[in-house]
């Protein structure tokens, strides 16, 4: 059981890293298009908003992974209660 929880935590940590990269990639895409002069006028606001959301989502998943780790450790320490 606790291994499964820890497994989820590990995946979420990797996802948090990927989301942080997504924020960087969005920035890079926007910069590239702006530099080439082909960026649509709405792109800057859209990318800014989604970049912030990616960063926030990465933080959320990092927190969730940390909580899942604590949960896994707690579950590992305590045996399951005896059924009555």
């Amino acid at each position: 059981m606790s291994e499964a929880i820890a497994g989820h935590a590990e995946i979420l940590r990797a996802d948090a890293r990927a989301l942080a990269e997504c924020a960087e990639r969005l920035d890079a895409i926007e910069a590239r298009l702006q530099e080439s002069g082909v960026a649509p006028p709405w792109l800057r606001d859209a990318v800014r908003s989604h970049r912030a959301a990616c960063v926030r989502a990465a933080d959320d998943l990092t927190d969730a992974a940390a909580d899942l780790d604590r949960y896994a450790r707690g579950a590992r320490r305590r045996p399951a209660p005896e059924p009555r």
């Binding site: 059981m1 606790s2 499964a4 929880i5 989820h8 935590a9 995946i11 979420l12 996802d15 948090a16 990927a18 989301l19 997504c22 990639r25 969005l26 895409i29 590239r32 298009l33 080439s36 002069g37 082909v38 649509p40 709405w42 792109l43 859209a46 990318v47 908003s49 989604h50 912030a52 959301a53 990616c54 926030r56 989502a57 933080d59 959320d60 998943l61 927190d63 969730a64 909580d67 899942l68 604590r70 949960y71 450790r73 707690g74 579950a75 320490r77 305590r78 045996p79 399951a80 209660p81």
Partner: protein, 714 residues
Amino acid sequence: MSEETDPAAGLLRDAAREVADIGVVIQEAARHATAALTDRAVLGSVSRAPSAGCRAGRTLVRALTGGQGLGHALVGGRLGTLAGKLGAMAGAESLAVRVMAVSLRLRIAAVTRTHPELADDPLLVRLIEAAAADRDLEAIRALRALLKDRGAVRTLSGLAPVFGEVLALRALLDENPLNDTAAWLIATGQGYASADPILGLSNRAVAVLDTGEGAARRIELTAAESARLSAEGTLLGFLRNIDAIGTTGRMLIQSVQGPDGTTRHVVHAPGMRTGRPDNDSPQDLLGAFSSAVLDSNPYSRALAKAVADYGLPHGAELALIGHSAGGAAIMNLAQDAEFCARYSVTHVVAVGSPVDFKKPADPHTWIASVTNQHDIIPTLDGQGAGGCFDLHPDWYTVDYRDSTHLFPLCHSIERYLANLADDLPEERAVIDGRLAPYHGPVVRAQAYRLYDRVPYPEGFPFLTVPTHPVDTPRGTVELPIRCQDGSALTAYFAVEPDAARRLLRGTGLGPAVQMRDRAVVVVRACWNRRTSLGGYRELHLGVVVPDPWRPGSLRVWPDLLRDADRRCSGDVLAGSVVDSAGVHDLTRTLWGGESYLAPMEFELTAGTAHIAVGGLRDRVLTLDGPLGLGFPARDRDLVTYTSRNGTTLRSCVRTEGRCRIHPMPRVRLDVGQNTHPFARRLRELGLDGERPALCVSVTSRRSLRDAAVPVQTT
């Protein structure tokens, strides 16, 4: 004219592809978080560490439903999917969907670079902006304004290059959860749009209505059609063949002798047949739909049956050429491993077809796809001009634009032919170069009619009857005469009883059936278009008489409605006209009575009739005018009495069809001013200038007519 010519558009497409990839990464993260939240193993351990478990749960819920991060992002698994759909219905969006919308908008921006008319048109801009901003009411208003200003054809044509993107945008952002999967597939290019992006109606659910094992029957093309077939194997020749066959439920196979002396074969598959959405042809609307959506469908199975019937040796080389739904159907054939094991499918050329998610069974099959960017049909699988994914790096794809923006004109095979002939010489040369083994004289050709399932024999079951030969002065004739397709008009007149009595004198039959103290006389004109004796027109004049053996019976009217095998009453033939010399020669032998040979005209629609006997200068009669109100009914058999050498003969015509009874016809019978005996007889009955009391019209019927049988009536 074709391919990417604007570097800016290329940059935008690259960006769209990368943003779509980011959207997929975000969606995967949301899926993983949902799996962690709903995993039984996670939930089951709460009793061991209740505080930490609840805290982890709360953090996950916040991550998956907080508006600032992943958004409303529950996805995957039963619980996650249900919660996700409920969220979509409430208008809550996930970050992944919002990022994917950016990708779609970049795709639209890329298309706009090469289609500046999209940016110049304020109404189109308004619609696209509203769709991208998830302003439903505004999008509907913009669409309505477009339709009002341009009409459906111009609106569709204008939108065509970004049709898939606009629909996917709307579907991703609207509150309908049923179309989200289809929109996601369009946006990511991961597969065929599994549902229509507007309502979310499952494509497969619609496509499975198209059932049948497929069947093909050899047919002969008309001389005019055959003359249009190409005698040489070239790309344009093959496409002209498809044009010649038309969207008529048929296909063609040609064999060409290649430059190396080898005989190869070309399967031509035209597009959708017009008419009812679901008819007996696999080329109907449902067939077009299932060709695009399914891997195998009645159209492709019917094509395989035609190829099998054509009789090709194992391993014979085949090129498959298709237009529209035909292109999707030949791709289905190309991805049929069993078919490809039997024959060597060397080339597939699909023109104006939604084939992006088809995959040939033989990796060596060379595939070309030709699409006009204003043609909506190829975009029905969700990938059109705005596509940013290279789904087929090994295919030869020609995605071009021309000045003809109007759909469906730009979808027609004629337009594609003209484009390939005049505007795309390089692309045509590439395809023709690959088709070089098929360049050569056509040595054999066979057309087929295709069916959803094995068709009934013609006329089955009504015309499936035993036949027998009868010797006549014109040679042996097979009876009964079977008419596959005919039409008839029967006009009932009320005449002076004395006139009818004079006509019946000496026949031993009668008295004439009366209606309000007037005798009933019938004029019946038929056009037997396809019979076992060929086509011919005929007209009968008869006096309606009761049962010859029980003339006083009161049951004459019910008896007249009985089927021929149980009817005793009938018409005494007072003369007939037929326009076929062959049938005229048989008349006296087979049925007796007076018959004349004369030209006839027969035109019958649901509301009017025009029947003329005799030429323009020696007109015997015309029966012409509107038929008035008609009530549907079952067509009735005919029983006719004639006499030959003093013997009474009874003959029957059994019919099958739906007729219309016209109780207030306004047709008028005019008798020609000449001495023709038939005209004289009509005048004797006082029919010149008369209107019938009742008419019965039948525009399509089958009939069986055997020889007359002598009956003793005295």
